[in-house]
Symmetry: C2
Subunit: 172 residues, 2 copies
DNA sequence: AAGATTTAGTTGACGTGTCACGCTAACACA
DNA sequence: TGTGTTAGCGTGACACGTCAACTAAATCTT
């Protein structure tokens, strides 16, 4: 067991392509969002979560759970976005520790402007490249990976807690 | 064409799992490296490239090409790693603009210490989760993705320019 | 050989992401 | 009622990563 060469050259090739492919795809999506709407991918994701929530607002912790981010990360990101006017922080009436993060009108506008192109990009650079069979395989493997890693937070996130009358059904 | 809902719920599920799975896997690998050898994944990758090169040294630009990183990124990373004593910068005799980046003894030690566990982790969290058929599919899709995105630098990197007497054959 | 251009590499500013720590409010319970 | 614990969030430091601007050496041009 476990001479390094146990992993075949082919396998390393696969790993390389998987690893770099992921990075390159996300980088490309990010660049596209920047160009189209002037927002980053993390900003898009955060605003999307808010958009999909009741009143376009969520508590910091809910946001973290929704995005599978650390709360600290959410805090930093919200701070930057608040400075840009994309979201607002509001005190929580029922829990003085709590904070509501609310999508602003500007935020909504940008989100909606971005969504179409972003979705098209994901389709063109991801979905359209695969047959249905390949999608099944990829999905199965990805799920398996997450479950396997999935000690703590990884197993949870099968979207629940939705609301709103059919907002743009997008994930990325 | 291109109502957002063109993308099925299943497809979004796939995208989510693929997207987060990748992030989580890399995060897990990084954490493992930190714990085992006290180095980050980028540090590991950079040192591995050096290790595999003649004299354990490469020019900044070669390093960038090898890793598919921007030169600026290499520069920053090397600066941090030089401060930690993992690599050294050395003037280039034949081209006064050039810089050789050389793996130090400390760097080598850490790299070697890290390699075994890192490889095991990749095997356990990636390779072992897939059948050979699934590997083929994943590899094909990843390659297709990179080629599709692959305007500029994406098409190049099929490892060339190897040297050295069989160093740890690892990629990640 | 003078001047323009290209190439190698660095730097600073800034967004992203994690970790360790700290703070206050809510809560449990003696 | 006080006291210890936990939950919700923020902050500062630092690593990662990109972009635009920069320096200086090499190279090309005429």
């Amino acid at each position: 067991m476990s001479t390094v060469s146990e992993v075949s050259e082919q396998d390393w090739e696969l790993w390389r392509d998987y690893f770099r492919g992921g990075r390159e795809l996300v980088a490309a999506l990010d660049k596209r969002l920047q160009g189209d709407a002037g927002i980053s991918h993390p900003e898009y994701l955060l605003m999307l979560s808010l958009w999909e929530a009741a009143e376009h607002s969520l508590r910091t912790g809910e946001l973290a759970e929704e995005l599978s981010w650390e709360k600290s990360r959410v805090s930093h990101q919200v701070a930057r976005m608040e400075a840009r006017g994309l979201v607002e922080r509001r005190e929580c009436e029922t829990d003085a520790r709590g904070v509501w993060v609310v999508l602003t009108a500007d935020g909504s506008r940008l989100l909606l402007r971005a969504t179409r192109d972003h979705t098209d990009a994901i389709r063109a650079w991801f979905f359209d490249l695969m047959s249905d069979d390949e999608k099944r395989v990829l999905g199965a493997v990805a799920q398996r990976m997450r479950e396997n890693l999935g000690t703590v937070c990884a197993s949870v996130p099968l979207r629940r807690r939705r609301s709103q009358a059919t907002p743009p059904k997008v994930c990325a």
